[in-house]
């Protein structure tokens, strides 16, 4: 099965003031079908350039890539026919209403039943009652939803969104998350680039982290968390009814324990490998009230790899 997005050594070099800038540097990316894929990276990491190359609006300097099986250089028009794309900072005609703007796009892409499609998309994003409002009079959240609506007009199996939540208030972000989950449940693959993790980070099933034009890590979120724990260590938090300083010395002598700290009645143990059964049996006599493995968050992964 062809993955919705696949790139091999994709590169983009710009010339700025006589200097060569490698905005995207040998990117190998594979987005699994049906995933909610987060392309993470700080501002200027090369995310938008990569997305524009995938959509065919920027030509790569080297490497190759396919989107839904279409070549990103030779078949870019086909890609934009099939993929719902929401670029960063998109806008519409200010003196036209939400409905008129969507109708214009529906006609532009040659939909057979433009009116029906527009109505459906406006309802899906919750803008049906505001369809007669001019774009110039819409709030940021409503504009963002109109952006999603235009991407959905093609009824795409792949949605590509570049920084979709920037400038959106918390309510808007929550609404956005709900919508993305709903669209994903319908079987669509969703590819989102962002640097705002706290807003949509929880949605991602897979991520790739970009740094200075390169993909430094990619995979499923659960695999990456495992990977991070394996690299940095496993942190266990244990609440004890009878804490004692003696435990620290004893626990540190266990094979695989790097460090142990006692904070009140909470014992924090850092291990180089998974040690849950050993620790539990060792701490049996000390009145264990709770025992948990502290898993790294998406932010930890991002911080670790984005530099």
């Amino acid at each position: 099965m062809v993955p919705p997005i696949k790139t091999e050594n994709l590169t983009k070099v710009y010339k700025l003031g006589g200097k060569e800038v490698r905005a995207v540097d040998g990117v190998n990316l594979e987005v699994p079908k049906g995933s909610i894929f987060g392309l993470l990276g700080r501002n200027g990491a090369g995310k938008s350039t990569l997305i524009h190359m995938l959509m065919g609006t920027v030509l790569p300097t080297g490497g190759r890539g396919t989107v839904l099986g279409y070549d990103i250089v030779k078949e870019s028009l086909k890609i934009r026919e099939k993929v719902g794309f929401m670029p960063e900072g998109l806008g519409f005609y200010e003196d036209l209403t939400a409905e008129q703007n969507l109708m214009a796009i529906a006609r532009l892409i040659g939909l057979k039943k433009p009116k029906e499609s527009v109505r459906e998309c406006l309802k899906l994003v919750g803008l049906w009652e505001y369809r007669q409002r001019k774009y110039g009079e819409m709030s940021t959240g409503m504009r963002q939803r109109l952006g999603i609506a235009q991407a959905l007009l093609k009824d795409p199996e792949l949605l590509v969104m570049d920084e979709p939540t920037s400038g959106v208030d918390p309510d808007g972000a929550r609404e956005f998350r709900r919508l993305i989950q709903e669209l994903n449940k319908q079987g669509r693959t969703i590819f989102i680039s962002t640097h705002l993790l706290y807003e949509i980070g929880l949605l991602f099933t897979h991520i790739a982290v970009m740094r200075q034009g390169k993909i430094v890590v990619q995979g499923s979120v659960s695999d990456l968390k495992e990977k991070l724990m394996a690299g940095q260590g496993y942190v266990y938090e244990v609440e004890l009814s009878e804490p004692s300083q003696v435990i620290i010395d004893r626990i540190c002598s266990l094979n695989g324990v790097k460090e142990a700290i006692l904070e009140g009645n909470k014992l924090v143990v850092l291990c180089s490998k998974p040690l849950a059964p050993t620790l539990l049996s060792f701490l049996k006599g000390y009145g264990v009230e709770s025992f948990r493995l502290t898993k790294p968050t998406l932010e930890d992964i991002f911080r670790e790899f984005s530099g």
């Binding site: 938008s48 609006t57 008129q100 532009l108």
Partner: protein, 301 residues
């Protein structure tokens, strides 16, 4: 087809905008004021004593209504049309880039040349409508309110004149679109357009005099006997050289070429020399092609 679809939407957006409505209103009022002024007693009247009653009859000179209107509004057109064209064109491309419309359009199966071709078609159509609508409106109002009934010849003359005005407007519009495309910034584009207009309309005419004086030296005079008086007259040869040089310098501006055509129309027999018109059309085409090339070659970053 995609370019035409974009043109259709663009045109709809332009004609709904307050800017466009304001421009149409200004043009209509200008034409109407020109039509109003022709109802005033003409300066070119003369008095004839009646042979039978010894009363004095006022006889209006036989000047075409169309020419009177052109005379009345000619100067305002020369001053206002460039400003209006710059106002229509300064954000045609940069505004679309700044507002993210280009990004939205490029998210669809269209190429950059579809976008700019559609934009040009919409812009030119709105320019034509912006010139034709005021004509129709002002003539209708003149007939209804002022009781002026223009003859077919008057209407034909006014249509020719407005056609020339449209070409003049197109030249400034194309220049403004070029600035808008190259700078990608509406403020810079507006400033550039206004600066060109100020330079062409006000600065260069004054500067040209100074330049010619530097080249030819101070004016030469000759003494001419007029009856009992001796008057000083500028040397005709000096004046001829002065005028030739001034025309050459001012021919660098769009205003000059429009004025040459306007003067031909005002003199009555119609346009005999089409050079000015051709220069304006060639300039418009060249700048539109340049804008097209710049826009198409630019990548989204």
């Amino acid at each position: 087809m995609r370019a035409l679809e974009i043109a259709r939407v663009e045109f709809g957006n332009i004609v709904r905008s307050n800017k466009f409505l304001a421009i149409v209103a200004i043009f209509t009022l200008m034409l109407l004021s020109g039509l109003c002024r022709v109802t005033e007693p003409s300066a070119a009247t003369f008095e004839v004593p009646s042979a039978t009653t010894h009363e004095v009859e006022r006889v209006e000179s036989d000047v075409k209504l169309g020419l009177k209107v052109m005379n009345a509004i000619g100067y305002s057109v020369l001053m206002l049309v460039p400003v209006v064209a710059v106002m229509l064109g300064f954000d045609v491309i940069s505004g679309k880039v700044e507002k993210g419309i280009v990004r939205t359009l490029l998210a669809q199966p269209v190429f950059r040349d579809h976008i700019i071709a559609g934009t040009f078609v919409a812009g030119l159509t709105s320019l034509l409508v912006g010139v034709a609508m005021p004509l129709a409106l002002s003539l209708s109002l003149a007939v209804l309110l002022l009781g002026i009934t223009p003859s077919l010849a008057d209407v034909a003359l006014l249509i020719t004149y407005l056609g020339v005005v449209a070409v003049f407007a197109l030249a400034y519009y194309a220049l403004s679109v070029f600035f808008s495309t190259v700078t990608g910034n509406s403020v810079k584009s507006l400033v550039a357009g206004i600066l060109v207009w100020l330079f062409s309309s006000f600065m260069l005419p004054s500067l040209s005099t100074a330049i010619i004086r530097l080249l030819l030296g101070p004016p030469k005079f000759e003494q001419v006997q007029m009856g009992q008086m001796i008057v000083l007259r500028t040397d005709p040869d000096y004046m001829r050289k002065f005028t030739d040089l001034q025309n050459k310098i001012l021919s660098l501006t769009l205003d000059y070429h429009f004025r040459v055509i306007q003067d031909q129309l005002l003199l009555g027999p119609g346009i005999k020399d089409y050079t000015g018109l051709l220069v304006l059309i060639a300039f418009s085409l060249a700048t539109l092609i340049a804008s097209f090339t710049v826009f198409v070659k630019r990548e989204v970053r």
